[in-house]
Symmetry: C2
Subunit: 361 residues, 2 copies
């Protein structure tokens, strides 16, 4: 619950499952408060409020428009289906609401550019809902990755993000419908692999992107599983990722450098809320006679107070407050990060649609 004066007042557009987690995060964030929720019907919004034990002070709207017309709302969180992002994110920006947008951010980078453009021209902050960027573990991993003596140059990145939803998911979930979210497992799970790979490469785009022929589509043409390779020609770096609705739950990232390597297996949602770890080694080699190694991977564990989603909300609200107080302008970095991911999402989709053709970025 907000303990700072004048917390940023959030409104939520839509009552998706993920909104439950973000409601809680807003409540945990010291500079944020949940002001209003909305759904396509008042009844649905009320059910959500009851189910999540929201305070009676939280306003409940039966339409997204009403919420956007509430002058008390500073910022909106938009967990709507991807195909609705353009309309509602642009409208929110035009209503001077700061925009926290769930991923995948848009149906294509052209749409995302319109969203980011609307945020820029209305002077509001844009950020996507990827939580792991805000975890202190991520900062620690980056510190080690950036150490030329410990890690050296990035040679190879592998990531997998997968889960096996229950059978009704494949019938009813928005992530299986071409008109709502044509990226499917790529936009949901693959978004994180793409983000992690770009993060490891300091957001430099690869030269080429190729989806392997092993892609699985559902009857609606939506991606259920894909394996993708990326290549940075100048650096000679390669990345591979696998995203899937058809495999056991994983969220692996392995980065192999010239002098070190690291592994993390719970990137997007840490196993637990109060601490998270990754494994790091530098300077490993076999000992004499190749009987073993001179060093093992070491666990680096980070303890922290707030869960990463509350840290995301807190960072977003810090920017919003700065903009409201005119001490800073909107931070363009978050839009640029989302944009790089969207460019690769589009490239993978284009490769899949083109029968695994190589797409040049």
């Amino acid at each position: 619950m907000a303990d700072e004066k004048n917390p940023v007042r959030f409104g939520i557009l839509g009552c998706a499952e993920i909104a439950r987690k973000v409601c809680r995060a807003i409540n945990l964030s010291p500079n944020s408060t949940l002001h209003a929720i909305s759904s396509r019907s008042t009844e649905k919004a009320k059910q959500f409020a009851v189910k999540n034990g929201l305070s009676d002070l939280v306003k409940v709207y039966g339409s997204y428009e009403e919420l956007l017309d509430d002058f008390s709302v500073d910022a909106v969180y938009i967990p709507l289906p991807t195909s609705l992002h353009l309309k509602w994110a642009v409208l929110a920006a035009e209503k001077k609401k700061h925009v926290l947008l769930e991923k995948p951010t848009a149906l294509n980078v052209g749409e995302l550019d319109r969203i980011i453009g609307a945020c820029e021209s209305n002077g509001v902050q844009f950020m996507d809902g990827s939580m792991w960027y805000h975890h202190p573990r991520t900062a620690k991993m980056k510190e080690l990755l950036s150490d030329a003596n410990l890690f050296g140059e990035v040679r190879m990145i592998y990531s997998s993000s997968s889960y096996m939803p229950p059978p009704d998911f494949f019938e009813n979930n928005i992530r299986t419908k071409a008109d709502l979210d044509p990226f499917g497992a790529l936009g949901d799970a693959g978004w994180y692999c793409i983000g992690a790979i770009l993060w490891a490469m300091n957001y430099k785009l690869p030269t080429t992107v190729t989806a392997l022929p092993a892609t699985t589509l559902n009857s609606d043409g939506v991606i259920m599983s894909a394996t993708v390779t990326l290549h940075w020609e100048q650096e000679g770096t390669v990345a591979t990722f696998h995203c899937s609705f058809l495999a056991h739950e994983t969220m692996d990232v392995s980065v192999l450098g010239s002098k070190g390597s690291f592994h993390v297996e719970d990137l997007i949602i840490p196993y637990e809320e109060s601490s998270a770890s990754f494994n790091f080694t530098s300077g490993a080699s076999f000992v004499d006679h190749h009987l073993g190694w001179n060093t093992k991977e070491k666990e680096v564990r980070i303890h922290h107070k707030l869960p990463q989603e509350a840290l995301l909300v807190t960072e977003f609200s810090r920017l919003v407050k700065g903009i409201k107080d005119s001490t800073i302008g909107p931070e363009a970095r978050w839009g640029a990060i989302s944009r790089a991911s969207q460019v690769l999402l589009d490239a993978v989709k284009s490769s899949v649609d083109g029968g695994s053709k190589t797409v040049y970025i």
Copy 2:
């Protein structure tokens, strides 16, 4: 040291670095004894004997032929450069010596077929020198991988095998010379990735093999680094591996199934000699609100007495003794395993040589 009656008497052809480890393994193996070593000069062989503290009872030959003509030698270990395997392995078989052959087994599968054929027609055992197959950890991993309820079907395999040798390696080592070992990092490090991937797929060959354009060759055309994708069309399974002389030391295998997943990071040479572990999870899912996981990866640790290389020698000698005693015939499985790896080695090389073309198996 051999504690069984009539231990299998080994001879070693060549004094490569790896022979030091195998000498020690033969001495550790209860059913094996080191009878003779050989090099292209007596002096070199004597130096090796002194350096490794070999018993004065070990015979020292100044040519491979002399060793093969020693009737007391039951079996030979051949760690010669790959281009010499065909000649010496075939000659050894013809001299009725059982053949333990260092990997990569041959310059191509045609050569390997001649080696295996010579072993078959002379009634001697063939096995390649991959040690990790013989580690009890491997058997435990296989047990879990084969459990349809715990692991399900294999969806994706990732492996990396890499190390960064000192600068003089790139000038002098046989693994950098096209006439001695044209596979380079692929035949050395990549052999293990290929083996691990085939092992996870019960040695079923993939439909296609494609080396990514990111291959690095030295001035002699030898592979210094490569990334490869493999696809099993019928199963929809994909594998990727990265092998390199230009990256930090790794030996990762991640196998993602429909119901479980596992990770091992020291496959070919365990961190330590007396125990080894891997991480395994089954049935993982996010908890309510996606605040964490219902289970973490669990470490499965196997304790054992003999190091894996001594287990390899012991298993090889067990087969040799059985053949000598006429209680069993040669075990064809080991040749088949080597052959599957060699087929993929050839396919990757062919893909590299063909400018990253897809090779159909």
